[in-house]
């Protein structure tokens, strides 16, 4: 209840209202939800994780294990919020968790009555059997019975901000020690304070309501600033929270210490709390947690509580606390019962060494203070104040074994569970944690680890120092996913890359496909068309007329220097020394392990100048691969590599009418086969812009790639498209591109290849220059496994009905032994039947036989054919 004494943080002249479990209550500005509940005499605030025991408020800070509530409503609801950390505002709505139908009458408490059947390792011992039993029976049961608050299901409407900051000195902790350290620090100084704003310090950037939750290598600290959580929703503007990533020259920790609970039967009853917390509630909020208080252990606060109006009885220890939904009496060491309405645990103190320990800071057990203190280390932050071990020396109160003597309040782990685990052999502190779950969940053992490992040490006749602690890992306190995501959500979760022609595609009703980060036109449906019909139409247009594809996403690398040809000779499997200027060649690139890495065409633009085209998905990887070899293996080669992927916009004009289309807009070059043959390059102009024309075909038809400065990419595309109108030019997307190339047996990297496929597997041994002394992958291609006759080889498949990509290939319908798999599968627009490509063991020797494609319960007979289905003679390439 509220008393006249204390109350430094509240404004008694003003009253605000809030709701807890639909009950309307009043409080003062400055209250936390916990202090306001206690001021209203409410101690029972939730039910425990496993046994659904009534639980109250234990602490007054970040270490709170019990008083977890859901704050806010609807999509704004935040479960598992610590009532001790919630700054109250007018109209706040909170509700208790893990209780049904209510916190006062909870059916789940029946599990508490049966708690002797839920010992340590209960999950591991009980939930045995098939995976089906787990998913259908056990997991739904556990999720319903054990757990914390449910997460809201609607998208989070809040904004979250993210910020990088740099400083010479970062001080974490806004208490006396932290403020003193910040005041004398030099350079840029940032002080992080978990609480509400305090007085500023000259020369110090003070971040209030900000919790440092993790320390990482090289003095990186991550912190969450609660920007608007303390305001009523209607008054909030800007981001809800801000994630700070602070890189500091020096870190000073002033994170304080946590008083530890005592262990005795009934130590989890509402009304049993830390003595230090009761003093905080009195000093800061003018709240007395009880009228008849039993103070156990350290009794140094008794006078202050008496001055606040309480009757205080002190005991060095008690045997048990009693009560149902609130503590009502204790059994003293003399076995007499004493009536009370609050029990305060005057335990010893554990410095908050979490941030010290996150990056390997060592700690040592101080037997006098019975706590772990940080070991000073020049490679670790400097700790000051309580977190450095400057805590009161309090004689530990020995634990009392008995029913419901809890070690870990949040995980419902009792001292009996620790003892059982020890007897069963879980004597490593890390094993103990995993077996009993002590120290897990949102409080990460701030009030349980020390008691747990002290008990373990006692059981082993050892010491806490010898037993050691579990590893401290971030986060120190729970962090909202929204804060971690920041602005990187929805459409910004990964950059979408757009070509210079993107707006045209949108205006022409393209459906888009994600290819890596690129948005590429997938197909352009006309009214009433589904994807299949659109793709068949687009393919036929290319085969019979002319089509256009935006190929701007192709990787393009400028390669220059006197050794450029020699370099290409090393990175491609085929020969490059004798390519004429203005001519192009297809090349296959392997990794050093001999597996196909990328393929594409490279063009000799000048005596010492080449341009290499890579696949869209591999553009960056290929450049990295080449730079790696150039810089680290062959630095003597005089070659410069420059990415020009985005400099060149590229349009493919393909089909028997391609030349006719181009001749309407191209000036400055002769387009005839004689003057400009397949696999050649010419420079020309279109619509006033300089372009490069390449005779490169990925469809099997007469094709020109038109490349121009991306600044003019849209203009050149539109000029080409306008010129194509008389020919019915048809834009086509990646799906038709795939069908058209598959009819020609052209591979797609990442579809026909998966890092286990050699050039020969793909039927590309013609592209391996065996006479070259060396190229990347050459030695590996001579390994015995690469020469096996039963390697999987690329073949064409003609199935009797459609088959999915990824289907397994077997020799006979009933076989389980797998010969390979289907890599590509489409409907052929030229033959009007399903066709596929597949990697099949000894595939080339199987041409003319049949295999079976297996998927689900289906088995489809497929004729094995050559990979080239369409125009095997290649006569259409010249139009």
């Amino acid at each position: 209840m509220r008393v006249q004494a204390g109350g430094a943080r509240i404004d008694r002249n003003r009253t605000i209202t809030f709701t807890f479990d639909r009950q309307k209550l009043s409080a003062h500005p400055g209250d936390t939800l916990a202090s306001a509940l206690l001021a209203n005499g409410i101690h029972l605030v939730g039910r425990s994780f496993k046994y659904h025991r009534p639980r109250g408020i234990v602490s007054a800070g970040a270490e709170e294990p019990n008083a977890l509530v859901t704050v806010g409503e609807g999509a704004l609801a935040e479960p598992n919020s610590r009532a001790t950390m919630i700054e109250l505002y007018d109209g706040l709505v909170a509700r208790s968790q893990n209780a049904w139908p209510s916190v006062n009458f909870d059916l789940g408490a029946l599990t508490g009555a049966a708690s002797r059947f839920f010992p340590a390792g209960f999950y591991y011992k009980t939930f045995l059997g098939s995976a089906q039993r787990w998913t259908r029976l056990y997991e739904p049961f556990i999720r319903r019975m054990a757990g914390l608050g449910p997460a809201p299901t609607a998208p989070d409407p809040d904004h979250y901000d993210k910020m990088h900051a740099h400083c010479e000195t970062l001080v974490i902790g806004g208490g006396v020690a932290g403020r003193a350290a910040a005041a004398v620090a030099s350079g840029r100084v940032i002080l992080l304070d978990e609480g509400s704003p305090q007085d500023t310090i000259k020369g110090v950037s003070l971040l209030s309501r900000t919790t440092a939750f993790g320390r990482y290598d090289d003095n990186l600290v991550m912190a969450v600033e609660r920007v608007t959580d303390h305001l009523p929703p209607a008054q909030r503007s800007g981001p809800r929270q801000r994630l700070w990533q602070i890189r500091a020259g020096k870190i000073i920790l002033a994170t304080g210490a946590h008083q530890q609970p005592l262990v005795f039967p009934g130590n989890d009853l509402p009304g049993v709390m830390l003595a230090s917390a009761a003093l905080t509630y009195l000093r800061d909020f003018g709240v007395l947690v009880g009228r008849r208080i039993i103070l156990v252990g350290d009794d140094s606060g008794a006078d202050k509580l008496r001055a606040g109006g309480a009757e205080v009885t002190c005991f060095p220890a008690i045997s048990a606390a009693h009560g149902r939904k609130r503590v009502s009496s204790v059994t003293a060491p003399d076995c007499r019962r004493h009536v009370c309405d609050a029990v305060l645990m005057g335990g010893h103190w554990q410095p908050a060494i979490h941030l010290h320990s996150h990056v390997g800071g060592k700690s040592v057990f101080d037997a006098d203070k019975h706590c772990f203190v940080p070991v000073a280390d020049s490679a670790q932050p400097f700790s000051v104040g309580a977190c450095a071990g400057e805590v009161p020396a309090v004689t530990p109160v020995p634990p009392v074994v008995g029913p419901k003597a809890f070690i870990d309040l949040q995980n419902d782990v009792t001292i009996a569970d620790i003892d059982l685990a020890t007897r069963e052999g879980f004597v490593s502190v890390e094993h103990l944690k995993r077996y009993t779950t002590t120290g897990m969940a949102t409080d990460q053992g701030k009030l349980s680890n020390l008691n747990a490992l002290s008990r373990l040490a006692d059981n082993l006749a050892s010491t806490p120092g010898a037993v050691g602690t579990t590893t401290f890992r971030p986060p120190y306190t729970p962090v909202t996913f929204g804060a971690l995501a920041g602005h990187d959500r929805d459409l910004l979760i990964d950059p979408a890359r757009h070509t210079p022609v993107h707006d045209w595609h949108v205006a022409n009703d393209a459906k888009f496909e994600d290819v890596g980060q690129w948005k590429r036109p997938w197909f352009y449906p006309r009214a009433g068309e589904d994807m299949h019909r659109a793709v068949q139409r687009e393919c036929k247009a290319v085969r019979n007329g002319v089509g256009m594809l935006d190929a701007s996403t192709l990787g393009k690398i400028d390669i220059q220097g006197p050794d450029a040809a020699a370099f290409l000779n090393l990175v491609y499997t085929n020969a490059w020394l004798k390519l004429d200027i203005g001519r192009a060649r297809y090349g296959v690139m392997c990794q050093e392990d001999g597996m196909v890495f990328d393929d594409g065409v490279t063009v000799r633009v000048g005596e010492q100048k080449f341009i290499m085209f890579t696949t869209t998905g591999n553009a960056a990887r290929v450049l990295d691969h080449l730079e790696d070899y150039l810089q680290t293996e062959w630095p003597h080669l005089k070659v410069w590599l420059t990415s020009v992927t985005e400099h060149w916009a590229a349009a493919v004009v393909t089909g028997p009418q391609a030349r006719a289309l181009l001749s309407k807009v191209v000036s400055g070059t002769d387009l005839s086969n004689q003057a400009f043959p397949h696999l050649a390059m010419r420079e020309a102009r279109i619509a006033g812009h300089a372009v490069r024309l390449y005779r490169i075909s990925f469809t099997g038809e007469l094709s020109y790639e038109v490349h121009c400065d991306a600044r003019f990419g849209a203009a050149v595309w539109e000029a080409l498209f306008s010129a194509g109108a008389p020919f019915g030019v048809t834009p086509y997307g990646t799906e038709s591109m795939h069908v058209l190339r598959a009819e020609k047996g052209y591979i797609i990297i990442g579809q026909e290849t998966d890092g286990t496929v050699t050039p020969d597997d793909l039927g590309l041994s013609w592209a391996i220059a065996k006479s070259k002394p060396d190229f990347i992958g050459k030695r590996s291609l001579a390994r015995p496994d690469m020469l096996r006759a039963d390697r999987k080889q690329l073949v064409g498949l003609l199935p009797v009905s459609p088959i999915p990509e990824g289907a397994q290939i077997t020799a006979h319908a009933g076989d389980t032994a797998m010969l390979g798999h289907v890599t590509s599968s489409y409907h052929s627009p030229t033959r009007n039947c399903p066709f596929a490509l597949g990697l099949v063991a000894s595939g080339r020797t199987r041409i003319g036989t049949t295999v079976h494609a297996r998927f689900g319960d289906h088995s489809v007979t497929c004729a094995v054919i050559d990979a080239v289905l369409y125009d095997p003679e290649g006569v259409r390439i010249d139009g």
Partner: protein, 80 residues
């Protein structure tokens, strides 16, 4: 998140870099002259040191250069 000393750009955040693994593994001058075991050793085997580890880094989002650093794999500290 390490701060990595790029020899050209100074200390930069780890996100700007790509790791290239163990350093000092020069590609053999004549791979075809190696027997199976020696080639497999070059291709597949790494020392995986606990302690001082010479490793390659590429300042991918910065200057694009490859360089070699020595890092203590126990502490993640770079040593010169």
């Amino acid at each position: 998140m390490l701060l990595i000393p790029c020899p050209h750009c100074g200390l930069r955040d780890q996100i700007e870099f790509r790791s290239g693994g163990e350093s000092d593994r020069a590609r053999p001058a004549d791979p075809s002259g190696l027997n199976e075991a020696d080639w497999a050793e070059y291709l597949f085997l790494r020392r995986n040191e606990k302690g001082l580890h010479r490793e390659r880094w590429n300042h991918a989002s910065g200057c694009g250069k490859w360089f070699t650093l020595t890092r203590d794999t126990r502490t993640h500290r770079f040593v010169s």
